[in-house]
């Protein structure tokens, strides 16, 4: 029998020692999990399903470039349209004219609440519903308007928050120099607001890139396939996932450099904040 004090000293670990043991346990769990996965997994089968060599070549050569271009084109057009429309909506939300505020609010709540796919379907069917109506730029115009209109609803709220985050003293200074309200907004408020909302807008751009995969719903011809549709068709034909994996990697090829570029840009403009 040891005394209680001595027992305490033996049994109780110091917090640092305990933390170290916890870490060991975490590493051990990780190692066990990996070992189990590797021993259970049928590696050749996985390779055949996800990374089949001949299918990689097929995917790369049968029009991946075109699909990549289409995805970028759909997303970029929709984003630009959304940005312009979103800015107008944000200014409307802040307007002193009541009806403008109401219209903007209704628009934002409406299109934020709808699935993008419904808006896309609606735009795809518009020419049928209105005979003679033709959306300019064909399939591109349809995707741009549908996705842009949805993106605008999200971006409007972001941009509005950015405008409101610009200190009021900035407007007062501009107005006190004799600048009219519109010029103060264009030259002073909006540039600062966009600087503030660059990170959330990047997020929005990435969302639009991914939403462009919904374009298939309006029925695309093979030259207007986006990455997802292209990869899915090849995957279906071959009953193999390799084309989808390639398509997925292509999305990362778009979004990762984008994130990186924006981060660089932010660091550069940080000195002006």
């Amino acid at each position: 029998m040891t005394s209680p004090a001595a027992a305490g000293r033996v049994r109780r670990l110091s917090p640092r020692k305990r933390a170290q043991r916890v870490r060991w346990v975490q590493y051990a769990v990780l190692v066990v999990a990996v070992v189990v996965l590797v021993s259970v997994a049928d590696l050749p089968q996985i390779q055949k399903v996800f990374f089949r060599g001949d299918l990689i070549v097929d995917t790369l050569t049968q029009g991946l470039g075109r699909a990549l271009f289409n995805t970028v084109a759909y997303a970029l057009g929709a984003f630009v349209l959304g940005l312009v429309l979103g800015t107008i909506l944000a200014l409307m939300r802040l307007s002193s004219v009541g009806p403008y505020r109401w219209i903007a609010t209704v628009y934002i709540e409406f299109f934020r609440g709808l699935p993008a796919i419904i808006v896309l379907l609606a735009f795809g069917l518009l020419p049928l519903a209105f005979p003679g109506l033709e959306i300019p730029f064909g399939i591109y115009g349809t995707v741009w308007s549908a996705l842009g209109i949805v993106a605008a609803a999200y971006m409007a709220e972001t941009i509005r928050a950015g405008i409101q985050a610009v200190p009021k003293g900035q407007v007062e200074a501009a107005r006190s120099l004799g600048m009219p309200a519109g010029a103060a907004t264009r030259k002073i408020v909006l540039p600062q607001a966009f600087r503030i909302v660059t990170p959330p807008l990047t997020n929005e751009l990435i969302l639009v890139v991914k939403d462009s995969s919904l374009a298939y719903i309006i029925g695309l011809s093979s030259t207007s396939f986006d990455l997802t549709k292209y990869g899915r068709d090849l995957a279906n034909t071959n009953a193999n996932l390799t084309p989808l994996v390639i398509a997925g990697l292509c999305y990362l090829l778009i979004t990762l450099p984008l994130t990186f570029a924006v981060r660089r840009m932010e660091a550069k403009t940080a000195r002006a904040r």
Binding site: G178, M179, A181
Partner: protein, 300 residues
């Protein structure tokens, strides 16, 4: 007492008043911040407005260039009534520089661009012409070498001097200063005051809301003491600061000039409640997330 004639005013002919304020009233909600202010500022005059926090000094200044919409009365600037809805306020403002307590430099623009942007928009000057004006004014405030810096890279004192150069680049007839040194570290105050002193000696008409009594005494042609939204006393600085006639002026000056002084017969200042009320009304009017109501009307 509110319309107390000042010695300086009687010495200048009434015709060359740059600013004429008559029965000016301003309320924020139910709180009346300015009550029947009447005064005039002549060409070349330097007027310092002093008074306790919450006396309505800043609001008076902001009513002159209509950053606040007066509730009643008239404000004539160069004979133009700025309270008249038909008045082209942007044009009047372009001849009236304003320097803010918080500098309010455009943070996304360089020092040079801060001084050129309004010239290009308002005076329609081309870039090189605007830059020439800007550089000469930056030289004047001693910051010609920082033209390419961004505001965030400057000290508070430098930022305030840029703000003065920015206002001067519009070539105003009148400069309004709203506590220009109150947000500065004490060792940076001197540079800003030196620039203002020089401006005054060059004959610029200036209205300065300030707590710098030594500056007011040295530079001002006239001092206006405000408390509770009225002009309590105005006149030559030697009289208002050196030999104040009114009890409230004396109490205020004692507090400012000797903060350790305790007034034996004034445990609670009778005006304190009203001052707190005014200050709160002023702050809540300016602190709302949107641009103040009268600015909003003109916004889009």
């Amino acid at each position: 007492m509110t319309t107390h004639p000042s010695p300086t005013r009687t010495s200048s002919p009434p015709g060359d008043a740059v600013v004429e304020i008559t029965d000016l009233r301003k309320s924020f909600g139910s709180v009346e911040v300015l009550t029947n202010i009447t005064t005039a500022i002549s060409q070349g005059e330097v007027v310092c407005v002093i008074g306790p926090s919450g006396s309505g000094k800043s609001t008076l200044l902001r009513c002159i260039n209509l950053l606040e919409q007066p509730t009643g009365g008239t404000v004539l600037v160069d004979g133009i009534d700025v309270t008249d809805p038909d008045c082209d306020i942007d044009r009047v403002r372009s001849r009236m520089g304003m320097v803010f307590q918080q500098f309010n430099l455009f943070s996304h623009l360089t020092v040079l661009d801060n001084c050129t942007v309004a010239q290009q928009v308002v005076h329609r000057r081309d870039k090189s012409q605007a830059e020439q004006v800007a550089r000469s004014n930056l030289e004047k405030v001693g910051l010609a070498d920082r033209a390419d810096a961004f505001p965030a890279q400057l000290s508070g004192g430098q930022q305030q001097r840029v703000a003065i150069a920015r206002a001067l680049s519009m070539e105003p007839d009148l400069m309004l200063f709203d506590e220009p040194t109150s947000a500065l570290d004490p060792e940076l105050v001197g540079d800003v005051l030196a620039v203002m002193r020089r401006l005054a000696s060059e004959g610029m008409t200036m209205i300065v809301v300030t707590h710098e009594m030594a500056f007011a005494r040295e530079v001002a042609d006239r001092v206006i003491f405000m408390d509770g939204g009225v002009i309590v006393e105005e006149g030559h600085p030697d009289r208002v600061i050196g030999d104040p006639q009114h009890h409230r002026t004396r109490t205020f000056l004692k507090r400012v000039l000797d903060p350790t002084h305790v007034d034996p017969d004034a445990d609670v200042e009778p005006g304190d409640d009203r001052r707190a009320q005014i200050k709160e009304a002023e702050l809540s009017a300016r602190g709302e997330p949107r641009v103040s109501s009268d600015m909003r009307d003109q916004r889009f």
